[in-house]
């Protein structure tokens, strides 16, 4: 087994699949603020079909997530809002609702997003794909997405290698999706596991936690957060 200090920050397709299923399980039990991920299998058809089933390809899917921020009128009805938390976008503005805002909120359309975690055979890392749309199905362009998910705007990710957004054809669905480009992933994965000042983990542990660690970084860019206890629950 390869030594972890020689590890290049990537994972095999098989380890991706194992890690993805484990990630989805942990998410379902410890991240109930969000719906669960599902694994979507994409069986490859080949003359080795019976053996290929063991190496089933697929991706993780989380769909129909509303990414619109609640406006002032929605706050009271929003049961997920923790009354103890600061809501910077609304509590300070409660007294300032004017007619223009009320008119806007009546026409406030909701935006949704689908997220897929797909393995990249080129980079040997997971990649986060996203596609956003209105309730009538109209796809959102990147600048509209950035209004709802400010962390992925070019202001927040300036010239950074860690993650930048490009548009590309979804490898399985063959339609244009946005994705967080994976070229920096192996570098920050190495930092996550090897950059700390604690003893280096065993490679098996790294592979087991890979998807969780990866997601803790990239999920933030699109507003999908995971609670820290997900990484502590072994």
């Amino acid at each position: 087994m390869m030594d972890v200090c020689n590890w290049d920050g990537t994972v095999s397709a098989k380890d991706f699949r194992i890690g993805a299923l484990s990630f989805a399980q942990k998410w379902e039990s410890l991240n109930s603020a969000f719906p669960p991920w599902s694994w979507v299998p994409c069986p490859k058809h080949s003359w080795l079909a019976s053996h290929e089933l063991l190496q089933e390809e697929g991706y993780l899917s989380l769909e129909n997530i509303c990414i619109s921020r609640p406006n002032e009128e929605d706050i009271d009805q929003n049961s997920q809002t923790d009354p103890g938390e600061e809501e910077t976008s609304c509590s300070e503005k409660e007294d300032d609702i004017d007619d223009a805002t009320l008119v806007q909120s009546n026409h406030h359309e909701l935006h949704y997003c689908d997220f897929h975690v797909v393995y990249s055979y080129t980079f040997r890392v997971p990649v986060l794909y996203l596609r956003a749309y209105c309730s009538d199905g109209r796809p959102l362009l990147l600048d509209e997405i950035e209004k709802e998910l400010p962390a992925c705007s070019s202001k927040e990710l300036p010239e950074t290698k860690w993650a930048f957004i490009t548009q590309e054809e979804h490898p399985y669905l063959k339609r244009p999706w946005y994705k967080l480009h994976p070229c920096g992933t192996s570098e920050f994965m190495k930092l996550l596991f090897l950059g700390g000042d604690t003893a280096q983990p065993k490679l098996e542990v790294v592979l087991e936690l890979y998807l969780l660690s990866w997601f803790s970084a990239v999920g933030q860019v699109v507003g999908l957060t995971i609670p820290c206890k997900m990484l502590n629950d072994r």
Partner: protein, 94 residues
Amino acid sequence: MAAESPTSVRKVVVHLRATGDAPILKQAKFKIPGTDKFAKVIDFLRRQLHRDTLFVYVNSAFSPNPDELVIDLYNNFGFDGKLVVNYACSMAWG
């Protein structure tokens, strides 16, 4: 923690640790109220380093969400009385 009275705010010792090519801070250790969000640590780092693009992570291969409370991070990942927060800057391409 249960023994603390509600009016006393327990502070957490945070140690900022440079990794990769990141510059080392002169003041790398400080105390912060446990009830503060991690976002405050990130903002402090950004101001000290004059950089917006930072990669911030804790020892257990986890990049904390800015809304997490510092005390929760300490309880999960703290060691030896402090929370070590590692940071790296964008590395050069290639």
